[in-house]
Assembly symmetry: C2
Homo-oligomer: 436 residues x 2
């Protein structure tokens, strides 16, 4: 039985999971593949820590170069994370004729366009299923399962930390800061949570999904990105009253030669599949001109689910190694020469329905002034809610608009927040409808 | 650019959809594949009907033999449906060196074990993604996306007709017979709905999923199968009151050398993902020892979604034709020689929680007699509901049991329905808990 020899960079959480599968499920993997996948070597700076795994048959090193340049390794799994030195190690592995599998969304989002041509030139495969949606085989579903379709939209709940926080805020009526602390204590959020809560992690993943969906080059830096840190329990309650939940969504849609890409807290109808994705679960909805709406749901992070996706990639590559890599689907779903530079649609040009929360002084004429500015910008309202009443303090006014151009809304909000009686801290949330 | 030449058997609903994709999306398909897929020929008994498609470049015939034996065809798509003559045509196509793609679950469930070895021997591929879950790439997800896992369970809402009927019964409080008529008028149910409503279609699909999940041979004839025709609006209301919805589920779990396979109306908790799969949508939940719980949702039928899955299979095969078919995943997820005969667990041996609805005379001592028989069989109750009261007529009593062996429950029910004051039309529904 022919063998595929794997070297592992990084024995942290996910690396340990990958090692565990390759060791514990070796017989199962062979039954599925008809060949053996062998974990030959692993590198990590900390080799002393007990990982609850018998690694005695694995060559261990504290230098990644021992893996990426080794003669007896066919496939390198990069689980270091971040941009550097991951980029250098992956490039070196490719230059040394090794396939690469990674869970590193930052790396693919930022440096994919440098790595894909290198791999193609060398006749090597690059797998990154685990980079988006953790254990969910959503990239495979999009790239292969929906390949007969012109993709019409991709929506994703792509960050478990944010979804955990929003779910808890809704269930317990708790403040953002309080729930974040709890998430940190549980290990669901990092000490510095910026990448997660400000939407950057979601933007990494969305930029990969969008490029794969539409045959475009990845443009991570151009994703419009807003996080969840300004959402209050009162926003969540207002949204619920109107029939919505608030989720941090990544959204991608094609518009001719342009691609719309945005990450922001979004009102989703209570009855939609997306609204029912709770806690740290992730989901990706892919809609195509033939398949209609499909949704992929599961664990978006964690040692075991993420390792499951990494090993699925290893197995796909093992099937074609060393002969037949050209028979694998192209990593980004389109052959390299057919992938296009597509411009990112300016956010001012997108069209949406909006939730706007203003803090206003509760005095006669304020609402009239606000609605007259909206009318000037041809923005019509679906609902307006003003609950609390105070003679002295500012009170929240929540408005839902009908569909309008973002540019018009932003212009209106600038004029509205310039009013004497309106505070300048307006919160704008976007709303999406779903057919499923 | 190399070409893959496709011949189509059947230009009905799905066949027309497949032809439409191959003609209208040819450029997109080439961008993804790096090669061309060409619809060369199609056969149907009725060639006169207008399909709203320009088929002038396609060689048409009313004889399937013109396709399965043609020299210029690489891949045959079988969309005739049913056991025969589909089986004969598929076998002939394989014997003549053609890959096969089919949407025919009956064919795969019944004759797959004859067709897979034939294809393997000839070095040909067999694709059948469209046979389970329509447009949802759920077989790919299970076979490839979750390949690193020992699969722990598969649950499916696999029949859109049943899900449509149950959803409508719940939303409108309507009778089964009434909703079935409406479904027939809308084209969601056949004139003879037996295959759908009695669970046979779901059993076809479940037998394929189970074999693929556990590396077993397909044993369709051994799937325990109950349909939805005995469900009443009152059962749906009782279930809702207890926190459940009723769904027709296909369920497969491994138990050592045995496989549990059953299709029946099932109580699923209101908050679970499965409960929120409405109307004619389908969903498959795959749980594995590493990936935990994953769910795949979408359209389980219809021209366009099903055609999407058929063409995805064609594209997978096109990538490896004519060299490299051995690099494709094995059709059933395990190499042919590693697939095992696994016995089907007798239904008496399964363990479940149960919903039991009895019609009893409302007189003193009946409940005592019933519960004493249950106690004899070591069955404990979670809840018992008796709402309506009539001095003369029978009234429904609904019981929820804790987990128990089916054999014990059946023995108890036999004794209970033998009681003078209990009618012999007890309805037994099984209940499943979901972690997601």
């Amino acid at each position: 039985m022919s063998e595929v020899r794997v070297g592992l960079l990084g024995l942290g959480t996910i690396g340990t999971g990958v090692a565990r599968i390759l060791i514990e499920q070796q017989a199962l993997i062979s039954r599925r593949l008809g060949r053996k996948v062998v974990l030959v070597a692993a590198a990590d700076r900390d080799l002393a820590r007990d990982r609850g795994l018998d690694l005695s048959a694995v060559r261990l090193s504290d230098d990644a170069n021992d893996i990426v340049r080794a003669d007896d390794i066919d496939l390198v799994v990069e689980l270091i994370g971040g941009y550097e030195p991951a980029r250098t190690f992956v490039a070196t592995a490719l230059e040394h004729g090794k396939h690469v599998v990674t869970a590193n969304k930052a790396l693919i989002a930022k440096h994919g366009e440098e790595l894909f041509p290198l791999a193609a030139e060398k006749g090597l495969a690059v797998g990154f299923e685990a980079a988006v949606g953790g254990g969910i085989p959503c990239l495979k579903a999009l790239r292969e399962g929906c390949a007969a379709n012109a993709i019409e939209s991709v929506y994703g709940i792509l960050n478990g930390t944010c979804n955990f926080i929003l779910t808890k805020m809704e269930n317990e009526g708790a403040d953002y800061a309080e729930v974040l602390k709890e998430a940190q204590a549980l290990g669901y959020a990092e000490a510095d949570p910026t990448f997660d809560v400000e939407g950057i992690d979601t933007a990494h993943k969305l930029s990969i999904l969008a490029a794969m969906a539409f045959g475009a080059k990845i443009r991570f830096d151009e994703v419009f990105t807003e996080g969840i840190s300004r959402i209050t329990p009162s926003d969540i309650a207002s949204a619920r009253e109107l029939g919505y939940r608030i989720k941090l969504l990544g959204i991608a849609k094609p518009h001719g030669d342009q691609v719309e890409m945005r990450v922001h807290p979004t009102l989703v109808p209570h009855s939609s599949q997306m609204a029912n994705v709770s806690d740290s679960y992730n989901a990706v909805m892919v809609s195509g001109d033939f398949v209609e709406h499909t949704l992929y749901f599961g664990r978006g992070a964690g040692e075991r689910p993420t390792a499951s996706a990494v090993v699925a990639d290893i197995m796909d590559i093992a099937r074609v190694h060393p002969h037949g890599v050209e028979h694998l689907p192209a990593p980004m779903g389109f052959v390299e020469s057919e992938r296009r530079e597509m411009a990112t649609m300016p956010v001012a040009d997108i069209s949406c329905e909006y939730y706007v929360r203003l803090m206003v002084r509760d005095e006669p004429g304020v609402i009239a002034a606000v609605t007259s500015i909206l009318a000037d910008q041809r923005i019509s309202l679906e609902a307006i809610i003003q609950k609390e009443r105070h003679a002295t303090n500012s009170v929240p006014v929540v408005m839902l608009t009908h569909e309008t151009r973002e540019g018009n809304l932003q212009a209106a909000i600038a004029r509205i927040t310039a009013l004497e009686s309106v505070e300048d801290n307006a919160l704008i949330l976007r709303k999406e409808q779903f057919a499923a």
